[in-house]
């Protein structure tokens, strides 16, 4: 009898605790919660957090989303998959985030997409591997909550790089031979695969294709080799190596008779000029993410970078800021569209997915960039949408030099080029 009493007490206690901890079932909505997740020790994550907070501040000042106040909760991936999945889950289930924005780094994204599918959370993301969109394609119901907002998928760089060569030729710089230096990383493979036939078509030869490991620094030997092979162009395809700044510095020191033009993530950093003591001058690069501080493609983008500067004292530290800022407005728009159409729960992620996909090729939305999605929820690429604008460092400033529709500068060749 005594036993039974003890058991009963324990059971009642447990039930009470469970009841206390269980969240009340779909009570009246008081607020909208936006989660932002990223590597918060790095500029990419910090830019995401600051941009989201800025957008939310603006939206709250105008009355919030459907009259609800918006609140921001932050998660830190620490670029570690275990931490990232834990944090995503915390934001989704403990903080009850209605949408999660951010990401960065493909491996971490792959891991987080599993948690996203399990928690059915809308995820307006950053990271560039085409594999993510392929997942959506292969298993739509499971992964449909994922959208790529920040930047085009990595394989589109092939199109931009081919256009870059074409643009240089049209501007009078003859390109016949290209020396490629790229990351030893899975993301550069589809780029190379797509780039090869495009260059072949133009009669351009790839004289060498060099892969470099993370943290690589011995570029001088490669530059000398490129010169010996009579290359017209060194084409970096670098994001992970983290040492694109060393490449440009050594190129500017050796002053070889060839251009440095390609995709180098470090070139997008607005402080590269300062950090290399001006050696970054004349580097031609791709403005990943479709916007530059010194060449904003839309009016909203111009306002955004100035508001960012006013609030934080400096311009966005990485291009992830544009995507994160756009994501907040995108979310507000689809929720309002859903409410207007009389949806029962305009915050239901399954319903919002249906509204997000309405932004397609024929119906893009202009935010800091012009955004539309493919059927696999990848960000649409093109002159009229977002692409990696062909840009150049000129005397401490970044200019977009192609396509003409957004360009605010012209190609300048380094003075030491004799061709």
């Amino acid at each position: 009898m005594r036993y039974a009493k003890a058991v009963l007490t324990v059971l009642i206690l447990l039930a009470a605790i469970t009841a206390l901890c269980a969240q009340p079932e779909k009570a009246e909505r008081e607020k909208v919660v936006i989660g932002v997740i990223g590597p918060m020790a790095l500029p990419e994550g910090q830019a995401e957090e600051k941009a989201v907070k800025l957008a939310v501040e603006e939206i709250n000042a105008q009355g919030g989303i459907l009259g609800h106040k918006v609140e921001v909760v932050v998660g830190d991936t620490k670029l570690d998959s275990n931490t990232a999945t834990s944090e995503f889950r915390r934001l989704a289930t403990v903080e009850n985030a209605d949408v999660i924005i951010g990401g960065f780094s493909s491996g971490v994204m792959t891991a987080m997409m599993e948690t996203m599918a399990e928690t059915k959370t809308l995820f307006l993301s950053d990271a560039s591997s085409p594999a993510h969109a392929q997942k959506v394609e292969q298993n739509y119901e499971k992964y449909k909550y994922w959208f790529r907002v920040s930047q085009n998928n990595g394989s589109t760089f092939a199109l931009d790089l081919a256009d870059m060569v074409k643009f240089l030729r049209d501007s009078g710089y003859e390109v016949k031979k290209v020396y490629v230096i790229r990351d030893e990383h899975v993301w550069t493979d589809p780029v190379m695969e797509a780039l090869k036939p495009l260059l072949e078509e133009m009669g351009v030869e790839i004289v060498k294709d060099v892969k470099i490991p993370r943290g690589y620094s011995e570029y001088e030997q490669l530059i000398l080799e490129a010169e010996n092979l009579n290359a017209d162009l060194i084409m970096p395809i670098l994001a992970i190596s983290g040492t694109g700044d060393i490449l440009v510095k050594q190129w500017a020191t050796l002053k070889p008779d060839l251009l440095l033009a390609g995709h180098d993530l470090s070139a997008i950093d607005a402080e590269l000029y300062e950090k290399t003591n001006g050696m970054a001058n004349y580097e031609i690069f791709l403005a990943d993410g479709g916007a530059l501080v010194t060449a904003p493609p839309t009016e909203k983008c111009r306002e955004f970078v100035e508001a960012y500067k006013a609030k934080y004292g400096h311009y966005p530290e990485s291009h992830q800021a544009y995507g994160a800022y756009d994501a907040v407005y995108l979310y507000k728009m689809v929720v309002e569209m859903a409410a207007e159409n009389g949806e029962k729960d305009p915050f239901d992620p399954d319903i919002l997915v249906k509204y997000l996909v309405r932004f397609n090729a024929s119906n893009p939305v202009q935010l800091t960039r012009t955004i539309a999605f493919y059927d696999n929820h990848d960000l649409m690429w093109g002159d009229e949408y977002v692409r990696n604008w062909i840009s150049q460092w000129q005397d401490g400033k970044q200019y977009i030099i192609y396509p003409p529709s957004v360009a605010n500068g012209e190609l300048k060749l380094p003075p030491w080029i004799q061709k």
Partner: protein, 313 residues
């Protein structure tokens, strides 16, 4: 001690009724992490050989298990339970080979060689990335469990079983010989103990459990990636074991739980709440330095000593 163990176990068992699922998920990962830490203690705390390459075996176990259960990559689709064991076995086999080569020597050489090992293995992931998936890693297809609740209990069971096995080992005659090697190799040898053989044995055992833990991570979060070989993970393991107190198993177990939960849960909250201009790693490393200098024996010994002292009075 027994009732403390029992109470801890009951607490762990009812945790799902108390905690929201997201924290349960972190707890489960902490259990797996604890397996890594106590298995490191088995080698370092009991035989005194400083193994700086424990993550080699965590990563090996993870990749072996991941490859064995992902038919898309290898054409092999083993049952996850088998692949987890295989991960442990592969890790211990590599441990055996490396141990035979490196453990003949005394002094710092073992520490130095093991420090380089994870770097070498991490390079393999990048170089043969068609197989290993490079920096991005890859998603694992058929996993043992799907819900957080199942995963939580499974990692709890693995932790408890691993802990009991290791405790049995260190309490046995083998464990006594490990400690003899630690305390004085010369003395152990003069007593007729083949020190190299016991050091290698400890290394094989420690690698086995590390491999199991790595394979568990894969089955827990459904992806594998090279950070499982990484230096940061190694440091976290060292930090937890040292904080807890080497050569006790209990200390490292508690250290592992506290450090992992602090890093992935509490510290972040605290720093965010006060918006401090530092990150959590700075806090953790500062704690590590302080503990290392102020109580180099670890918390477990420190508390035990005080306990004994206060009981005497």
């Amino acid at each position: 001690m027994r009732w403390v163990n029992g109470a801890a176990l009951i607490l762990a068992a009812v945790m799902p009724f108390i905690l929201p699922e997201a924290y349960l998920y972190i707890f489960g990962l902490a259990y797996i992490f604890a397996v890594m830490v106590i298995s490191w203690d088995l080698m370092v705390g009991y035989t005194g050989q400083v193994n700086l390459g424990h993550t080699t075996f965590v990563g090996l176990g993870a990749y072996v298990a991941a490859l064995l259960q992902t038919p898309l990559r290898t054409g092999i689709a083993m049952h996850p339970a088998v692949s987890i064991i295989a991960g442990g076995a592969a890790a211990s086999a590599v441990g055996l080979a490396i141990g035979i080569i490196t453990l003949r020597l005394r002094g710092y050489y073992f520490a130095l060689v093991t420090a380089i090992l994870p770097l070498v293995f991490m390079q393999t992931v990048f170089i043969w990335r068609e197989l290993f998936g490079g920096e991005e890693g890859f998603a694992v297809e058929n996993t043992l469990f799907t819900t957080t609740l199942e995963k939580y209990y499974f990692s709890l069971v693995v932790l408890v079983v691993s802990f009991i096995l290791m405790k049995k080992i260190v309490d046995s005659r083998i464990g006594l010989r490990f400690m003899a090697v630690r305390d004085s190799e010369e003395l152990a040898e003069s007593l007729g103990i083949n020190t190299t053989r016991y050091k290698v044995l400890a290394f094989v055992l420690t690698s086995f459990f590390a491999g199991i833990a790595g394979a568990m991570v894969v089955n827990y979060r459904f992806t594998v990636s090279p950070e499982l070989y990484g230096v940061p993970l190694m440091l976290l393991i060292i930090l937890s074991a040292v904080l807890g107190g080497l050569g006790t198993l209990y200390g490292p177990l508690i250290g592992a739980m506290v450090i992992y939960l602090a890093k992935n849960w509490w510290l972040g909250d605290i720093i965010r709440t006060f918006s401090l201009p530092i990150n959590d790693e700075i806090v953790l490393y500062a704690i590590l330095i302080a503990v290392g200098i102020l109580m180099p024996e670890g918390l477990y010994h420190e508390i035990k000593e005080r306990w004994v002292k206060s009981n005497k009075q």
